[in-house]
């Protein structure tokens, strides 16, 4: 067995392990025989453990070979004429560290959730979705083509929305899930159209046709015009999952989901999915100054928005959501500035810290209540505010903007509302037309039955 064969086997294992657990836990549940809690957590956790160890193995091999990338051809999925759909994966300096930390985090959250969700009615559902998310995340990260990346991206979006709506007995959870999913789908258009443009430009979705050299030194192989169009589309796709203005309204609502999923999705992995896609395609961005400028402007604005709005939140999870958004925005700014390793390190560091904070938040609140009860009041945390130097009217305006969440919601509803109303009118007109067509007119006064 050559080194390449070993890497190929380990890379496939990183995908196959969580996918297998998805089938092992999902199929019995679909057939009305869900596994016990212990079996469920063991199987899903086992899948992540295997994936994590496989990723560590690949990391060790790559590190010993100066991170020379290994492309794994898993074969042709299907072929029609000259069109060949292949599932190519890549193990390089970007994907392997990312898989290590994402699979490791999933494994940890799996252990935490096993106890946190004990006897919860949706226990099995949570772990099925966690396994789906892990599979999608690994597929997205290891993808060596925009098509495979999109497949993983979709799984991440679906599992995210279903976990936000985990407690779907509550109307808020349903609305939050639909808001998130709608935002994802709208921004997915960016990735889908980017895939179409890439296929049209280079005849394939494979990254080797788009970039030359190895990450982080890759360079664009396509003309500047194509690079600009694709980069702008990728930036648009990233705005949704990374909760950038004006697509950020879903993020604070997403905290309706259970704490472990909030931690892994909005503190750690899903929130950085857009950043990963841009990092992977950084070579295109580098050849597209317009897209980079747009990214920096939007992300810097979003960081400011999140910093401002986050400071006036009155609940811990919303505060953490905005803190996540602010850091994710800064990461996008770094990517827009053309840095490559710094944003990757920032992603890993931020993900670990934020998921810890979110996992800790329920017990931190409990501790805080105990502290307040013990001292008989609120502990003094200092009264300094960064806007305290502003004159009173300006300070009031800043507070107003922050409390109204930057007026993002009225702006979005101003765009979406008319479209929904138009569709409702069209649907009403359709119903009226069909009712007219179905009326019995030969006998006036008849009921038509």
């Amino acid at each position: 067995m050559t080194i390449h064969d070993a890497v190929a086997a380990l890379v496939v294992l990183q995908l196959a392990a969580p996918a297998t657990t998805l089938a092992l836990v999902g199929l019995p549940a679909l057939f009305g025989r869900p596994l016990s809690e212990r079996s469920t957590t063991s199987i899903v956790g086992g899948g992540f453990a295997v994936g994590f160890l496989a990723a560590l193995g690949v990391l060790a091999i790559l590190a010993s070979r100066s991170f020379v990338p290994e492309v794994v051809h898993t074969g042709t999925w299907f072929a029609v004429g000259h069109h060949e759909a292949t599932v190519n994966l890549v193990a390089d300096a970007l994907s392997v560290p990312y898989v290590c930390f994402s699979t490791g985090l999933c494994w940890l959250v799996n252990s935490f959730a096993g106890k946190y969700l004990h006897r919860e009615p949706g226990f099995t559902r949570f772990f099925i979705l966690l396994a789906l998310f892990g599979t999608g995340m690994n597929l997205m990260v290891l993808a060596d083509s925009i098509d495979v990346m999109f497949a993983g991206w979709e799984f991440v979006g679906i599992s995210s929305a279903l976990l936000i709506g985990f407690f779907f007995e509550r109307r808020n959870a349903i609305d939050a899930a639909l808001r998130a999913y709608t935002t994802y789908r709208i921004c997915d258009v960016g990735l889908l159209v980017a895939a179409v443009v890439v296929h049209r430009a280079v005849g394939s979705g494979d990254f080797e046709r788009l970039f030359g050299a190895d990450w982080p030194h890759s360079t664009s192989l396509v003309p500047e015009g194509t690079a600009t169009v694709v980069s702008l589309l990728l930036v648009f796709a990233a705005l949704g999952k990374t909760a950038q203005v004006p697509f950020s309204g879903w993020l604070p609502r997403a905290m309706e989901g259970p704490t472990p999923s909030s931690a892994i999705f909005y503190g750690a992995l899903s929130i950085h999915a857009g950043a990963y896609v841009l990092l992977r395609c950084e070579a295109l961005l580098e050849a597209a100054p317009l897209a980079r400028m747009a990214l920096v402007v939007i992300a810097a604005g979003s960081a400011l928005h999140a910093g401002l709005v986050g400071r006036v939140q009155t609940d811990l999870k919303s505060m953490l959501a905005y803190a996540s958004m602010a850091q994710a925005s800064l990461i996008l700014v770094e990517i827009g500035l053309g840095w490559r390793v710094v944003p990757l390190v920032h992603v890993v560091g931020h993900a670990i810290l934020r998921s810890l904070q979110i996992l800790r938040s329920p017990s931190a609140l409990h501790d805080r209540h105990e502290l307040e009860a013990a001292i008989g009041g609120h502990p003094d945390l200092g009264g300094w505010s960064p806007v305290s130097w502003l004159p009173a009217p300006a300070r009031a305006a800043v507070y107003r903007i922050a409390l109204e969440r930057g007026f993002e919601e009225p702006f979005v509803m101003g765009l979406v509302g008319p479209v929904i109303r138009l569709l409702e009118r069209l649907a009403g007109a359709e119903r009226a037309w069909v009712a007219w067509l179905g009326e019995k007119r030969s006998r006036p006064g008849g009921d038509g039955q």
Partner: protein
């Protein structure tokens, strides 16, 4: 792998004819027996047996066609573009799908909708649909259009409160049948499949295209489609729409025209553009539906329109995608429809204006609804993802807008499915409410529909190869752009039988 060395096409000619006869006769015979009063206590049993036999025969037919190098089998009188019995790639690919859809409908149908007359009508409709999918004879196609629409109309008319929907259906179908009959007559008089076709033949082609628009529920003749889903039993609506009789007719009558480049008629190009609009418009309407049936109807209208959208492809890949959509949308939308019906039979009409809280009532049904919904909208790992990929990739060179409209349709449908799922299954639970477990026959039928969607989605190679051959036969070119012989077979393939 079995190739031509193992099964020479000539040796299975009789068997092919026997299989076609079995596929049509089994449900027809069961329908006659039910009409005569046999099995009046359990009409589901003979229906399942007959459609089970048909399904096995369809699968065998499909396998035989594949194993005998994909020849075209023709029997009986040949008129215009095709013979009375005509088995080629499209028949072989679609017959098992149609049989599976019909069988699943009979398995899931609630008992009160499956009295002997209703079952008999369902089986007669199935027999007519099978017969239609096994012919390319223009006269037979016209007759079978009528035969497939009549049981549907009777069934809607007999449904309490269904008469308005029956009137809408009858109005559209009579107009469609008229256009189809006149158009076909004109095409027979002045055949467009022969060189030198004149104005009469072209007019006939456009009339047939108009008929297809109406029967397929394409904008601007789409309104009857959601109305059928709202006013008729879902078994009737699904059996009438999911096999896509009109799309099959378009393939047989509007493809292979001698005077059109690459054999694709201008009528088909117009149909495909309108179908793309329908796909996007239907998906947009699905977003604002107020009840479950409206959602299923508009989704079905949108996703099944993609079949027609891909049929105008001048390269086998796009046509291959259309055939893939034909199978995937048929199975997935039938699944959604049956799940909706199973739920409705337990809980009554379900509104989408407020959350209905049905998850705890029927968790397995909720899971099936979600999975079928995802399978219908092109989620990776399902056949619809492969289908969308082929259509979009196939249309890139000539019709960028087609790819974009497919994407818009997919995106909007996805939001509509998720909205429907959360509003039907989410919401406060009635703690003391009834618990409705899924029945074994329902689970079996839904799993049988689901399995091919995922198996073929994860391992699409064999299906895509089969459909590629079917697409090559229809277009008269190979996937690599090589010309086919005069009878429409790619080089090296044969036409068996014929007059």
């Amino acid at each position: 792998m079995i190739g031509s060395d193992l099964i020479p096409p000539e040796s299975v000619q009789g068997l092919m004819l026997g299989l076609v006869a079995t596929i049509v006769a089994a449900p027809a015979l069961a329908a006659i027996m039910l009409a005569a009063g046999c099995f009046s206590r359990s009409p589901r049993t003979p229906a399942v047996a007959a459609l089970g036999v048909a399904l096995v025969a369809c699968a065998l037919l499909s396998w035989l066609w594949h194993a005998s190098t994909g020849a075209v089998y023709e029997f009986g009188e040949r008129l215009g573009g095709g013979s009375f019995v005509h088995v080629d790639g499209i028949t072989a690919a679609l017959m098992p799908t149609v049989a599976l859809i019909e069988l699943a409908i009979v398995l899931v149908a609630p008992r009160r909708f499956l009295d002997p007359p209703a079952t008999s009508r369902l089986l007669l409709g199935a027999a007519a649909t099978f017969a239609l999918f096994a012919t390319a004879h223009p006269g037979a196609l016209v007759a079978l259009w009528f035969a497939t629409a009549l049981p549907t109309w009777i069934s809607i008319r007999g449904t309490p409160g269904g008469r308005p929907a029956a009137r809408v259906f009858a109005t559209v179908m009579i107009a469609a049948f008229g256009a189809m009959a006149v158009g076909t007559l004109l095409m027979i008089f002045d055949p467009p499949w022969e060189r030198g076709c004149g104005v009469v033949g072209n007019t006939g082609g456009w009339l047939v295209a108009l008929a297809v628009l109406m029967r397929k529920g394409i904008v601007p003749f789409h309104s009857w489609y959601p109305s059928l889903y709202s006013g008729a039993p879902l078994s009737t609506a699904l059996a009438a729409t999911m096999p896509q009789v009109a799309a099959y007719t378009a393939v047989r009558l509007l493809m292979g025209h001698a005077d059109h480049g690459m054999g694709v008629g201008a009528e088909l190009v117009v149909l495909s553009q309108l179908a793309l609009v329908t796909a996007a418009y239907g998906a947009a309407l699905a977003l604002v539906q107020r009840d479950l049936r409206g959602l299923v109807g508009t989704l079905a209208m949108s996703q099944s329109a993609l079949v027609l959208a891909g049929l105008a492809g001048k390269v086998p890949m796009e046509l291959n995608g259309a055939l893939c959509v034909w199978i995937s949308s048929g199975l997935a939308l039938t699944g959604i429809g049956l799940v909706a019906w199973a739920l409705e039979s337990r809980a009554g009409t379900l509104s989408l204006t407020t959350p209905q809280g049905r998850f705890h009532d029927a968790p397995a049904i909720a899971a099936f609804f979600l999975i079928f919904g995802l399978a219908a909208i092109g989620v990776p790992g399902t056949l619809s993802f492969v289908a969308d990929d082929l259509i979009v990739s196939g249309s890139l060179d000539e019709q960028l807008h087609a790819g974009l409209l497919v994407i818009v349709s997919t995106v909007l449908s996805g939001i509509a499915v998720m909205r429907g799922w959360f509003l039907i299954f989410g919401g406060p639970v009635a703690i003391d409410g009834p618990r409705h477990q899924i029945l074994p026959r329902e689970r079996f039928a839904l799993t049988a529909l689901l399995a091919p969607l995922f198996i073929l989605g994860l391992w699409p190679g064999p299906l895509v190869t089969t459909l590629e051959r079917a697409a090559e036969q229809l277009l008269g070119v190979t996937a690599d752009g090589q010309p086919a012989d005069a009878r429409g077979n790619p080089p090296g393939e044969a036409t068996i039988g014929g007059p």
